[in-house]
Protein backbone atom coordinates (compact mmCIF):
# COMPACT_ATOMS: atom_id res chain seq x y z
CA UNK A 1 0.00 0.00 0.00
CA UNK A 2 1.45 3.32 -1.03
CA UNK A 3 1.22 6.59 0.87
CA UNK A 4 -1.46 7.84 -1.52
CA UNK A 5 -3.67 4.86 -0.75
CA UNK A 6 -3.16 5.19 3.00
CA UNK A 7 -4.12 8.87 2.81
CA UNK A 8 -7.15 8.08 0.66
CA UNK A 9 -8.54 5.52 3.10
CA UNK A 10 -7.81 7.86 6.01
CA UNK A 11 -9.71 10.73 4.36
CA UNK A 12 -12.52 8.39 3.29
CA UNK A 13 -13.00 7.08 6.83
CA UNK A 14 -12.96 10.64 8.17
CA UNK A 15 -15.54 11.79 5.62
CA UNK A 16 -17.85 8.85 6.32
CA UNK A 17 -17.59 9.22 10.10
CA UNK A 18 -18.28 12.95 10.05
CA UNK A 19 -21.15 12.60 7.55
CA UNK A 20 -22.76 10.01 9.81
CA UNK A 21 -22.11 12.29 12.78
CA UNK A 22 -23.90 15.12 10.99
CA UNK A 23 -27.02 13.12 10.18
CA UNK A 24 -27.21 11.27 13.50
CA UNK A 25 -26.57 14.30 15.69
CA UNK A 26 -30.05 14.92 17.06
CA UNK A 27 -29.22 17.37 19.79
CA UNK A 28 -26.75 20.01 18.67
CA UNK A 29 -27.10 21.73 15.29
CA UNK A 30 -23.82 23.62 15.71
CA UNK A 31 -21.96 20.33 16.13
CA UNK A 32 -23.69 19.00 13.02
CA UNK A 33 -22.42 21.98 11.04
CA UNK A 34 -18.89 21.40 12.36
CA UNK A 35 -19.13 17.76 11.26
CA UNK A 36 -20.06 19.05 7.82
CA UNK A 37 -16.82 21.10 7.78
CA UNK A 38 -14.79 17.97 8.52
CA UNK A 39 -16.54 16.14 5.67
CA UNK A 40 -15.83 18.96 3.22
CA UNK A 41 -12.17 19.24 4.19
CA UNK A 42 -11.55 15.51 3.92
CA UNK A 43 -13.25 15.50 0.51
CA UNK A 44 -10.87 18.30 -0.50
CA UNK A 45 -7.99 16.04 0.55
CA UNK A 46 -9.36 13.27 -1.66
CA UNK A 47 -9.60 15.77 -4.55
CA UNK A 48 -5.89 16.54 -4.13
CA UNK A 49 -5.11 12.82 -4.26
CA UNK A 50 -7.17 12.61 -7.48
CA UNK A 51 -5.10 15.45 -9.03
CA UNK A 52 -7.89 18.05 -8.95
CA UNK A 53 -5.94 20.79 -7.22
CA UNK A 54 -8.02 23.82 -8.21
CA UNK A 55 -11.25 22.03 -7.27
CA UNK A 56 -9.76 21.12 -3.88
CA UNK A 57 -8.81 24.74 -3.16
CA UNK A 58 -12.24 25.99 -4.20
CA UNK A 59 -13.91 23.26 -2.14
CA UNK A 60 -12.16 24.46 1.00
CA UNK A 61 -12.78 28.15 0.23
CA UNK A 62 -16.43 27.90 -0.78
CA UNK A 63 -17.70 25.02 1.35
CA UNK A 64 -15.50 25.25 4.43
CA UNK A 65 -15.21 29.02 4.31
CA UNK A 66 -18.54 30.29 3.07
CA UNK A 67 -21.38 27.78 3.03
CA UNK A 68 -20.85 26.21 6.44
CA UNK A 69 -20.26 29.65 7.97
CA UNK A 70 -23.63 30.68 6.51
CA UNK A 71 -25.23 27.64 8.18
CA UNK A 72 -23.58 28.55 11.48
CA UNK A 73 -24.77 32.15 11.17
CA UNK A 74 -28.37 31.02 10.70
CA UNK A 75 -28.21 28.45 13.51
CA UNK A 76 -26.89 31.06 15.92
CA UNK A 77 -29.21 33.79 14.63
CA UNK A 78 -32.24 31.59 15.30
CA UNK A 79 -30.72 30.27 18.55
CA UNK A 80 -31.44 26.62 17.77
CA UNK A 81 -28.94 24.99 20.07
CA UNK A 82 -31.40 23.01 22.15
CA UNK A 83 -34.00 22.12 19.53
CA UNK A 84 -34.96 18.48 19.65
CA UNK A 85 -37.48 17.02 17.28
CA UNK A 86 -38.85 13.53 17.30
CA UNK A 87 -38.08 11.71 14.06
CA UNK A 88 -40.85 11.74 11.49
CA UNK A 89 -43.57 9.15 11.50
CA UNK A 90 -44.33 8.91 7.78
CA UNK A 91 -43.75 5.40 6.61
CA UNK A 92 -43.70 6.54 2.98
CA UNK A 93 -40.49 8.58 3.25
CA UNK A 94 -38.86 5.80 5.23
CA UNK A 95 -39.85 3.32 2.54
CA UNK A 96 -38.43 5.59 -0.15
CA UNK A 97 -35.17 6.02 1.78
CA UNK A 98 -34.93 2.25 2.23
CA UNK A 99 -35.45 1.67 -1.50
CA UNK A 100 -32.70 4.19 -2.38
CA UNK A 101 -30.34 2.52 0.09
CA UNK A 102 -31.09 -0.91 -1.43
CA UNK A 103 -30.53 0.31 -5.00
CA UNK A 104 -27.29 2.07 -4.10
CA UNK A 105 -26.09 -1.01 -2.20
CA UNK A 106 -26.75 -3.29 -5.16
CA UNK A 107 -24.90 -0.89 -7.47
CA UNK A 108 -22.02 -0.76 -4.99
CA UNK A 109 -21.69 -4.54 -4.86
CA UNK A 110 -21.59 -4.59 -8.66
CA UNK A 111 -18.95 -1.83 -8.73
CA UNK A 112 -16.66 -3.30 -6.10
CA UNK A 113 -16.06 -6.40 -8.22
CA UNK A 114 -13.52 -4.32 -10.18
CA UNK A 115 -15.30 -3.23 -13.34
CA UNK A 116 -13.39 0.01 -13.96
CA UNK A 117 -10.12 0.15 -15.93
CA UNK A 118 -6.87 1.47 -14.49
CA UNK A 119 -6.49 5.29 -14.87
CA UNK A 120 -4.24 6.38 -17.72
CA UNK A 121 -1.15 8.62 -17.55
CA UNK A 122 -1.78 12.25 -16.68
CA UNK A 123 -1.07 15.18 -19.00
CA UNK A 124 1.32 17.72 -17.40
CA UNK A 125 -0.48 20.44 -15.46
CA UNK A 126 -3.64 18.36 -15.13
CA UNK A 127 -6.16 19.94 -12.78
CA UNK A 128 -4.17 23.11 -12.20
CA UNK A 129 -5.62 26.60 -12.37
CA UNK A 130 -4.12 27.26 -15.82
CA UNK A 131 -5.78 24.34 -17.57
CA UNK A 132 -9.16 24.63 -15.85
CA UNK A 133 -9.21 28.41 -16.31
CA UNK A 134 -8.39 28.11 -19.99
CA UNK A 135 -11.28 25.70 -20.43
CA UNK A 136 -13.63 27.90 -18.39
CA UNK A 137 -12.95 31.00 -20.46
CA UNK A 138 -13.02 29.34 -23.88
CA UNK A 139 -15.30 26.31 -24.20
CA UNK A 140 -17.47 27.00 -21.17
CA UNK A 141 -17.72 30.80 -21.39
CA UNK A 142 -21.50 30.75 -21.68
CA UNK A 143 -21.72 28.50 -18.61
CA UNK A 144 -19.66 31.00 -16.59
CA UNK A 145 -21.96 33.85 -17.62
CA UNK A 146 -25.05 31.85 -16.70
CA UNK A 147 -23.49 31.00 -13.33
CA UNK A 148 -22.86 34.68 -12.63
CA UNK A 149 -26.49 35.49 -13.45
CA UNK A 150 -27.64 32.66 -11.17
CA UNK A 151 -25.53 33.99 -8.30
CA UNK A 152 -26.94 37.50 -8.80
CA UNK A 153 -30.48 36.12 -8.72
CA UNK A 154 -29.65 34.15 -5.55
CA UNK A 155 -28.27 37.26 -3.81
CA UNK A 156 -31.38 39.30 -4.63
CA UNK A 157 -33.70 36.43 -3.71
CA UNK A 158 -32.02 35.77 -0.37
CA UNK A 159 -32.13 39.47 0.52
CA UNK A 160 -35.83 39.74 -0.29
CA UNK A 161 -36.68 36.52 1.55
CA UNK A 162 -34.78 37.42 4.69
CA UNK A 163 -35.90 41.05 4.88
CA UNK A 164 -38.49 41.72 7.54
CA UNK A 165 -40.52 44.14 5.43
CA UNK A 166 -40.14 45.10 1.81
CA UNK A 167 -40.62 48.81 1.21
Amino acid sequence: MTAVQVLFYLFAALALASALGMVLNLRNTVAAAMSLVVTMVSLAGIYVLLEAHLVAAIQIMVYGGAIVVLFLFVVMLLNLRADEFAPGRQWLTKLAAGLVVLAAGAELVRLLSGALPEPGPLPPGFGGYRMVGLLLYTDYLLLVEVASLLLLAAIVGALILAKRRID
Binding site: T39, L70, P123
Partner: protein
Protein backbone atom coordinates in the same frame (compact mmCIF):
# COMPACT_ATOMS: atom_id res chain seq x y z
CA UNK B 1 -2.80 4.38 -7.27
CA UNK B 2 -6.23 4.74 -5.70
CA UNK B 3 -8.71 2.12 -6.96
CA UNK B 4 -11.46 4.11 -8.65
CA UNK B 5 -14.11 1.62 -7.53
CA UNK B 6 -13.49 2.69 -3.96
CA UNK B 7 -13.83 6.37 -4.87
CA UNK B 8 -17.18 5.75 -6.54
CA UNK B 9 -18.21 3.54 -3.62
CA UNK B 10 -17.39 6.31 -1.14
CA UNK B 11 -19.42 8.69 -3.30
CA UNK B 12 -22.39 6.30 -3.28
CA UNK B 13 -22.25 5.84 0.50
CA UNK B 14 -22.07 9.61 1.09
CA UNK B 15 -25.05 10.10 -1.23
CA UNK B 16 -27.05 7.49 0.68
CA UNK B 17 -26.22 9.17 3.99
CA UNK B 18 -27.50 12.43 2.50
CA UNK B 19 -30.73 10.77 1.32
CA UNK B 20 -31.23 9.30 4.77
CA UNK B 21 -30.75 12.72 6.33
CA UNK B 22 -33.32 14.31 4.01
CA UNK B 23 -35.85 11.52 4.56
CA UNK B 24 -35.48 11.02 8.29
CA UNK B 25 -34.51 14.32 9.89
CA UNK B 26 -37.11 16.96 10.75
CA UNK B 27 -34.80 19.90 11.37
CA UNK B 28 -34.91 22.04 8.22
CA UNK B 29 -31.30 23.21 8.58
CA UNK B 30 -29.99 19.65 8.88
CA UNK B 31 -32.06 18.72 5.81
CA UNK B 32 -30.31 21.52 3.87
CA UNK B 33 -26.94 20.24 5.10
CA UNK B 34 -27.84 16.74 3.90
CA UNK B 35 -28.63 18.16 0.45
CA UNK B 36 -25.14 19.71 0.47
CA UNK B 37 -23.74 16.28 1.35
CA UNK B 38 -25.49 14.72 -1.66
CA UNK B 39 -24.11 17.42 -3.99
CA UNK B 40 -20.63 16.74 -2.61
CA UNK B 41 -21.00 13.02 -3.25
CA UNK B 42 -21.84 13.76 -6.88
CA UNK B 43 -18.80 16.07 -7.11
CA UNK B 44 -16.60 13.25 -5.85
CA UNK B 45 -17.91 10.96 -8.59
CA UNK B 46 -17.25 13.66 -11.21
CA UNK B 47 -13.64 14.15 -10.05
CA UNK B 48 -13.05 10.40 -9.86
CA UNK B 49 -14.28 9.74 -13.38
CA UNK B 50 -12.29 12.71 -14.67
CA UNK B 51 -9.19 11.10 -13.14
CA UNK B 52 -10.11 7.86 -14.90
CA UNK B 53 -10.34 9.48 -18.35
CA UNK B 54 -7.90 12.44 -18.26
CA UNK B 55 -7.55 12.65 -22.07
CA UNK B 56 -4.34 12.35 -23.99
CA UNK B 57 -1.13 14.31 -23.51
CA UNK B 58 -2.00 16.63 -26.41
CA UNK B 59 -5.70 17.01 -25.67
CA UNK B 60 -6.37 16.80 -21.92
CA UNK B 61 -10.01 16.62 -20.86
CA UNK B 62 -11.07 18.49 -17.72
CA UNK B 63 -14.82 18.69 -18.30
CA UNK B 64 -15.58 16.80 -15.08
CA UNK B 65 -13.76 19.37 -12.99
CA UNK B 66 -15.52 22.24 -14.77
CA UNK B 67 -18.85 20.58 -13.96
CA UNK B 68 -17.77 20.33 -10.31
CA UNK B 69 -17.16 24.08 -10.26
CA UNK B 70 -20.65 24.66 -11.65
CA UNK B 71 -22.20 22.32 -9.07
CA UNK B 72 -20.42 24.28 -6.32
CA UNK B 73 -21.88 27.51 -7.74
CA UNK B 74 -25.38 26.09 -7.77
CA UNK B 75 -24.91 24.75 -4.23
CA UNK B 76 -23.87 28.19 -2.98
CA UNK B 77 -26.92 29.81 -4.58
CA UNK B 78 -29.19 27.11 -3.19
CA UNK B 79 -27.87 27.53 0.34
CA UNK B 80 -28.30 31.31 0.21
CA UNK B 81 -31.93 31.07 -0.91
CA UNK B 82 -32.69 28.07 1.32
CA UNK B 83 -31.41 29.77 4.45
CA UNK B 84 -33.38 32.89 3.53
CA UNK B 85 -36.49 30.71 3.40
CA UNK B 86 -35.53 29.19 6.78
CA UNK B 87 -35.24 32.65 8.34
CA UNK B 88 -38.57 33.86 7.00
CA UNK B 89 -40.23 30.60 8.05
CA UNK B 90 -38.82 30.97 11.55
CA UNK B 91 -40.24 34.49 11.64
CA UNK B 92 -43.73 33.36 10.61
CA UNK B 93 -44.00 29.99 12.38
CA UNK B 94 -41.43 30.34 15.18
CA UNK B 95 -40.05 26.90 14.35
CA UNK B 96 -37.73 25.11 11.93
CA UNK B 97 -39.53 21.79 12.22
CA UNK B 98 -40.57 20.38 8.87
CA UNK B 99 -43.81 19.04 10.38
CA UNK B 100 -44.99 22.61 10.91
CA UNK B 101 -44.97 23.47 7.20
CA UNK B 102 -47.20 20.78 5.77
CA UNK B 103 -49.85 22.97 4.15
CA UNK B 104 -49.04 21.78 0.63
CA UNK B 105 -48.79 18.13 1.64
CA UNK B 106 -51.65 15.71 1.05
Amino acid sequence: MIPLEHVIGLSAILFVIGVAGVALRRNLIVVLMSIELMLNAVNLAFVGFNRLWPGTLDAPRLDGQVFVLMVITVAAAEVAVGLGIVISMFRNRDSVNLEDVSLLKW
